[in-house]
Structures are given as structure tokens and as C-alpha cells.
């Protein structure tokens, strides 16, 4: 019987990369809270995770002017625009409080995925050692 990393680690490596991508988007939203005409963005986590699990190997990009192939895009598809609850007069759709809450929640979810991954690695290691 062989040990497959994919089945041992499950969904968590994909989830981890998506949480970190989402953290980047939310951080950009918070950074641009005072920029006129900035539109807040976020990803749809469920569809993004489904896409991430089905992606082929990405194309290697070695130069800033290389265009990524469709398969080489970051897992998680495109970032969607948030529908603002209260429109601001300067065209900015960032609600700092909402984004802050989502960022914190996202960080905790990242840590949860990390915890599960860590547990899987510990399990694999003890299986290899035969303890």
C-alpha cells in the first residue's frame, strides 16, 4: 500500500492558497479605503475551490511581459466586485468595518487550514517512522 500525498492532505493545500489569495484581495480593499473610485473586490470561495481542484499544471511565467495562459491563472478564477451597502459620493465602495471583519475571519480560516495540514504531516511522519 502506498501513501498518496494528495489523498493524505485532502482539500487543505488548495484551501490554503485560496485563503491567502483572498487575504491579499481584502488587504488591497482595506489599503484603498480612502482612494476615490476604487471598487472593493472579493472572490466566491465555493466556486473558486472547485476550480482550484480541477486546474491543470500552470504555465511557467519567467518574464513580466509573459501573459499567463488560461490554465495558468491563479486558482480561484476572477475577483468579483462587491455590491455596496451604502454608496459613497467619491465612487469608493469599500466599507472598512466589513472588510476588516472579513479579513479577520479569513485569517482564522487560514490558520484552521494550516492546523489541519500540520496534523496530516504529523500523521504521515509518525506512519513513516513506524512508531
Amino acid at each position: 500500500m502506498s501513501i498518496s500525498f494528495d489523498s493524505a492532505l485532502g482539500i487543505h493545500p488548495y484551501a490554503l492558497s485560496l485563503w491567502s489569495r483572498r487575504a491579499e484581495l481584502l488587504a488591497a480593499n482595506l489599503a484603498n479605503a480612502d482612494t476615490p473610485d476604487y471598487k472593493a473586490r472579493d472572490i466566491d470561495f465555493k466556486t473558486a475551490l472547485q476550480q482550484a481542484q480541477g486546474t491543470a499544471l500552470p504555465l511557467q511565467v519567467t518574464h513580466a511581459k509573459h501573459l499567463p495562459s488560461a490554465a495558468g491563472q491563479l486558482p480561484g478564477g476572477e475577483a468579483l466586485y462587491r455590491v455596496p451597502l451604502q454608496a459613497s459620493i467619491d465612487g469608493n465602495t469599500v466599507d472598512s468595518q466589513v472588510e476588516h471583519g472579513k479579513f479577520m475571519q479569513n485569517a482564522l480560516q487560514y490558520q484552521a487550514s494550516l492546523h489541519f495540514l500540520s496534523g496530516s504531516f504529523k500523521g504521515l511522519r509518525s506512519a513513516l517512522k513506524g512508531e
Binding site: 492558497s17 491567502s20 489569495r21 487575504a23 491579499e24 484581495l25 488587504a27 488591497a28 482595506l30 489599503a31 484603498n32 479605503a33 480612502d34 482612494t35 476615490p36 476604487y38 473586490r41 511565467v61 513580466a64 511581459k65 509573459h66 499567463p68 495558468g72 491563472q73 491563479l74 476572477e78 475577483a79 472598512s96 476588516h100 479579513f103 479577520m104 485569517a107 487560514y110 490558520q111 494550516l114 495540514l117 500540520s118 504531516f121 504529523k122 511522519r125
Partner: protein, 137 residues
């Protein structure tokens, strides 16, 4: 790794908010510096923010903040008839800067809150990165 980029993004936000705080401090400091002519009077300064979009960021539309420049307020100066003032011109008028102290105070609080937000975001990402480095230990 997206988490490294977060620290860059928050860094740009922090520097932009520092500049905003800087101009606010300058405006408030000069709120009472009167002068005898329209051209020499201090005018309120405000930074203009814009997003730095990174098109080749592998399809991710995230970006930090950049300051396009600092513009002077076009609000009219306040003119006061004070013939006894040492700075008064021949007609007996002095000119006050177009700084609105209430607006500036609101600006200051907004800038400091945004700065705090960015610091917290950078700190959280740092902790997540450190935990990631300890994976499997």
C-alpha cells in the same frame, strides 16, 4: 505567495496615510498664518490617492495605494478688515488661509484610523507567514 504581497500593499497604504497626516499637520499649523496679499497666503493642501494596479499579477486585480500629488485647495481665502494689524495692506485688509480646522481634524482622525487598519493587516499577515513556516513541526 500572496501573503508577502499583503505586506507591500499595507506598506503603500501606510506611507500614503502618513503623507495625508503630514499635509493635515501642515494645514493645521498654518491655519492662522495671515498675510497681506492674496498670492502670499497659505492655501490648504490635500494629497490625491490612486490605486497602483498590477496588470501582470497573474490575473489578480490587487494593488496598493500611490499618491499622485498634492493639490492646493481652491476654496476662497477669508478676507478681514483689520487696519490695526501689522500685516494689513494699504486698504487695511489681511488675508486668512482657506484652512477649515474642523475638516482637517476629521481628516486627521480618518488618516490615523486607516493607518491603524493597515498596521493590523500587516501584523496579521506576518503572523500567518510565521505559522506557515512552522508547518509540520
Amino acid at each position: 505567495m500572496s501573503l508577502f504581497k499583503i505586506i507591500d500593499i499595507s506598506g503603500t497604504a501606510m506611507s500614503a496615510q502618513t503623507l495625508r497626516l503630514n499635509t493635515t499637520a501642515s494645514n493645521l499649523a498654518n491655519a492662522d498664518s495671515v498675510s497681506s496679499s492674496v498670492n502670499q497666503t497659505y492655501r490648504a493642501r490635500h494629497p490625491v490617492f490612486a490605486t497602483v494596479l498590477n496588470e501582470f499579477n497573474q490575473g489578480a486585480a490587487t494593488g496598493g495605494v500611490q499618491v499622485l500629488g498634492v493639490v492646493e485647495s481652491k476654496a476662497p481665502l477669508r478676507q478681514e478688515y483689520a487696519p490695526d494689524h501689522p500685516m494689513a495692506n494699504e486698504a487695511g485688509y489681511i488675508f486668512h488661509p482657506n484652512v477649515n480646522p474642523i475638516e482637517e481634524m476629521a481628516n486627521m482622525i480618518s488618516a490615523s484610523r486607516s493607518y491603524q487598519n493597515s498596521v493590523e493587516v500587516a501584523n496579521t499577515s506576518k503572523q500567518l507567514l510565521l505559522r506557515t513556516l512552522q508547518l509540520g513541526e
